[in-house]
């Protein structure tokens, strides 16, 4: 038979099954838009203008791969529902004498139509959205837009190719499934009202195990000392949450529902009678989808709310990371006057004044410290889990910085050791063979730095004056030490934000001409670079969250169509018995509500448990205002809950329409 015949049959089938195919097409169009936009962004030459171009490309490329994989996963999920629904139809084809190759042709044309239609619509929408998304990212990054206008075929080809592969994988899976099944099993009507799965003792154990998994994860997240390690565990944690949630929903929630069934006052109430009975059956059957919603919801809240708070808190981070308006470091102590002069000149040129200039002369290097004996050496001491650094500073600078009034005599020092190191009352310390008398000893908790992640153990030796510092420096040089004294200058200037940006630009230009200046940073620079970086995180967090939200919508929509089609005969029976439409609607509303809000409640519990870790991660980015972050998370939770309620209401309407139209 001619291929055009099968092509026509495939087209007719799609019209007949339009309820499911439209949903499939929407999924297709949406995933194509998402993937195309990611690819387009990654390949756009204008992106080179963005700060941190290299990192941005890596992040966007990873985003492309991520979207491709979740698309494959999600399309498998939606295909599973559709193919289950169409088994009987395929069985009928086989019974009418169609060969497998003919059925394959029908399936092929159906896939082709969806692919072509989805690609055209998805790419068209992508073309419309690309400029908005691109400019949106650059606006968020607060940097100049350099939109590379014009059409590029590369992202189109990549998108088409990726989706051909995904669709072919699904097509071959469907073909294989039909060949594997016997005609009679395909023809067999599905049991539309799934039997109530009774719970056994094993289910109770599984439920308890699920609770234990979740509780264990919560415990680990909140007690893990090593943040880096706990971040590395994130994928495992998601897996554990997923398994735990699945077990809790399929066993514990069903047990609660069964318990409610034994409460006569609750169960034998016209509002809850059908609701509880149906929930017992539906919860277990939907456990997998509900667990997926649970994980997606958790990821959306964590991903979006942290990136939103990170972006909105950029000013806070810059201020936290950088207390002064700027800092200049000169590797050559002799050039200190030049550096200082440059700061004052830049301020003058910008029309502002230097309010304060904290100067620091110091000698910093890596060392080893014997806590027991109070000995500093290069070698011969067992190293710790983190590197140890020491800075030798002047008492005058130290007193000025911390507003103290310490006094030292010749040969005396003020010792500040790391708060995480053991504290000993040293009378003297052995500093590379030099005995130094410890007049004061504190730990760094009294003089905290700004780093929120510990990279090294920090120690400070504060000496009486510049002579004492040079004396020590000379002695260190004598034993092979090569490092020179450095000069640090923290400045505070008057004027507005714009004035400070102006000073930043002038100073940056001047300092670049002084060879010994090897470090210059400012609040304005921090703000600029942090906005750029946070904007990328925000873009990714929100984009991927949006994809996840859409997947939640699709799952709910698919489940509602699937279940409503199964439930329609039951609703007809209820009507025949004398249930009002209003009662049926109320019952379905409560039932669906309880069903679809279980994963949301669990997701909120997960987020609450993860909050400590989320705030620790934010501290890495210098967002230390936890109250601000909490506010962002709570507001986002309320927002996403509202979105979910709207989604739920839409899905409920679809359900009602199907069951009541059927009757």
């Amino acid at each position: 038979m001619k291929q055009t015949f099968w092509a026509k049959i495939a087209f007719k089938n799609m019209i007949e099954n339009r309820k499911f195919y439209i949903a499939n097409l929407v999924v297709d169009v949406f995933t194509i838009i998402s993937f195309y936009l990611f690819t387009y962004m990654t390949l756009n030459p204008g992106l080179k203008a963005a700060p941190g171009y290299g990192t941005l490309i890596v992040i966007l490329s990873l985003g492309c791969i991520f979207v491709a994989f979740i698309t494959l996963f999600f399309k498998f999920y939606t295909n599973r529902i559709l193919s289950k629904r169409r088994n009987r139809e395929m069985g009928l084809y086989a019974a009418w004498g169609l060969e497998y190759k003919n059925i394959d042709s029908i399936l092929f044309y159906e896939t082709l139509y969806i692919y072509l239609l989805g690609s055209v619509l998805g790419l068209l929408a992508g073309f419309i959205l690309q400029r908005i998304v691109y400019n949106g990212l650059f606006t968020l990054m607060k940097c100049q837009k350099d939109y590379a206008a014009g059409f590029s075929w590369t992202p189109v080809w990549i998108t088409l190719l990726v989706f051909i592969v995904i669709d072919l994988v699904i097509l071959f899976t469907n073909m294989r499934k039909i060949r594997k099944n016997k005609v009679i099993s395909l023809l067999k009507e599905e049991d539309v009202s799934a039997p109530v799965k009774k719970l056994s003792a094993i289910d109770a154990i599984k439920g308890l195990f699920g609770l234990a998994l979740i509780a264990g994860s919560y415990y680990y997240i909140n007690t893990a000392v090593d943040l880096k390690e706990s971040i590395e565990m994130i994928l495992a944690a998601i897996g554990i949450f997923f398994v735990g949630s699945f077990l809790v929903i399929s066993c514990v929630v069903v047990m609660i529902e069964m318990f409610l069934k034994t409460r006569d006052r609750v169960y034998y109430n016209s509002t809850f009678f059908t609701t509880i009975a149906k929930l017992i059956s539906r919860t277990k059957n939907n456990a997998m989808s509900l667990s997926v919603i649970n994980i997606l919801f958790t990821c959306v809240i964590i991903g979006a709310s942290t990136t939103i708070s990170l972006y909105l808190g950029t000013q806070r981070q810059a201020s936290e990371a950088f207390k002064a308006d700027g800092i200049v470091k000169s590797g050559n102590f002799e050039d200190r006057a030049l550096s200082k002069e440059a700061i004052y000149d830049a301020a003058r040129e910008a029309g502002v004044t230097v309010e304060k200039c904290n100067e620091n002369v110091l000698l910093g290097f890596q060392t080893l410290f014997d806590v027991e004996k109070g000995v500093y050496r290069y070698e011969g001491i067992e190293s710790k889990d983190l590197p140890e650094v020491i800075e030798i500073r002047l008492l005058e600078d130290f007193n000025k910085q911390w507003n103290e009034n310490f006094t030292l005599d010749d040969g005396e020092i003020l010792l500040v050791t790391d708060e995480d190191l053991e504290f000993k009352d040293y009378e003297t310390i052995d500093f590379y063979g030099e005995k130094l008398k410890v007049k004061y000893h504190y730990d760094t908790s009294k003089y905290p730095g700004v780093d929120n992640i510990k990279y090294a153990y920090e120690n400070f030796v504060i000496v009486k004056d510049f002579d004492a510092l040079t004396d020590l420096h000379e002695k260190l040089k004598a034993i092979g030490f090569t490092r020179e004294l450095s000069f640090w200058c923290e400045y505070y200037i008057s004027g507005s934000k714009d004035d400070k940006i102006k000073v930043d630009a002038i100073l940056g230009d001047t300092l670049s001409k002084i060879p010994s200046v090897d470090y210059f940073d400012s609040n304005a620079t921090q703000l600029r670079t942090r906005y750029a970086r946070n904007a990328i995180f925000l873009f990714l967090g929100c984009f991927i969250s949006f994809i996840f939200i859409m997947y939640m919508v699709f799952i709910m929509y698919y489940k509602q169509i699937e279940e409503a089609t199964d439930d329609a005969p039951n609703v007809l029976i209820m009507q025949k018995i004398g249930m009002y439409d209003a009662e049926i609607k109320r019952s379905i509303f409560t039932e669906n509500g309880l069903l679809f809000f279980v994963p949301v409640v669990m997701a909120f519990c997960h987020v609450a448990a993860c909050f400590g870790m989320m705030s620790d991660i934010m501290k890495l980015f210098m967002l230390t205002d936890i109250a601000f972050m909490k506010l962002c998370v709570v507001l986002f939770c309320l927002f996403i809950l509202l979105v979910y309620i709207i989604m739920y209401y839409g899905a409920y309407k679809v359900y009602i329409k199907i069951v009541l139209n059927h009757s």
């Binding site: 009202s193 009975a277 059956s281 025949k576 018995i577 004398g578 439409d581």
Partner: protein
């Protein structure tokens, strides 16, 4: 004399295809009365209008013309909510394909109409136990519909139909999905309830099932073609009478 339970006045039903192009007149003026304690069987070939008549009596469908008066109330004039209330309080329905809800146990299936009427748990338990005993399904109360046989399902459906003590029990081909043994058991059950005063109207193709009724209405092309009264005949004699009548009209 018994009270008039049901009155059908010149019932007409016309089905119209979309755009009003094709019309099909399923009922062309059906009128009959049923009194308290009646057991009426409606027979006729496929398409004669039996099920349409029953569905209109059950308020599952509406007539194009005519009136359905049950216990003095004209249900043709009722709104949707009133109809639902009326159905759950006054009518019991037994279907060919049982129409049990699979997510309810046998007990809950029977109790369902009482729960809708907000009856107390005590009342529900008492009534369900009484009916389960009468329909011999006491041991099945905690099972689910997919765990019991067709005959047991239909007895459950009968118990559910009677649980609210309906004025009228309507049955649409109740033995259609049952074997002969289960069919006999079910009809004996109907007869027992009828002897206790339950009014029953049943649509059936089965001569044997119809022979249990007190009166048989024969529908042909949307009108009542003939009526046979059982009077003093026993089941077997009445079965023969129905068979002979059907044979004669076919001839």
């Amino acid at each position: 004399m018994s009270e008039k339970m049901l009155e059908l006045k010149n019932l007409r039903k016309t089905y119209m295809a979309k755009k009003g192009a094709v019309q099909y007149e399923a009922l062309k003026g059906i009128s009959f009365d049923a009194f308290e304690g009646d057991f009426i069987a409606i027979m006729g070939e496929s398409g004669s209008g039996k099920t349409t008549t029953l569905n209109i009596i059950a308020s599952l469908d509406t007539a194009t013309e005519g009136n359905v008066i049950i216990g003095g109330t004209d249900i043709s004039q009722m709104g949707n909510k009133e109809i639902c209330r009326f159905r759950r309080e006054k009518l019991g329905f037994v279907f060919q394909d049982f129409n049990l809800l699979n997510y309810f146990s046998v007990k809950d299936n029977i109790a369902f109409p009482m729960v809708l009427l907000n009856k107390s748990k005590k009342e529900i338990d008492e009534r369900v136990s009484e009916l389960a005993e009468k329909t011999s399904i006491t041991k099945l109360l905690n099972k689910y519909p997919y765990e019991i046989s067709g005959g047991e399902k239909q007895r459950t459906a009968v118990a559910r139909a009677l649980v609210c003590r309906p004025a009228l029990l309507l049955a649409d081909e109740p033995t259609g999905a049952l074997d002969s043994k289960n069919s006999d058991q079910l009809m004996d059950l109907f007869k027992t309830f009828n002897d206790l005063g339950q009014t029953i109207i049943m649509v059936t193709h089965s001569i044997k099932s119809a022979s249990k009724a007190k009166k048989v209405l024969f529908l042909k092309d949307g009108v009542i073609g003939a009526t046979l009264e059982k009077e003093n005949a026993d089941d077997e004699e009445f079965e023969n009478e129905i068979a002979n009548f059907l044979y004669s009209i076919r001839k």
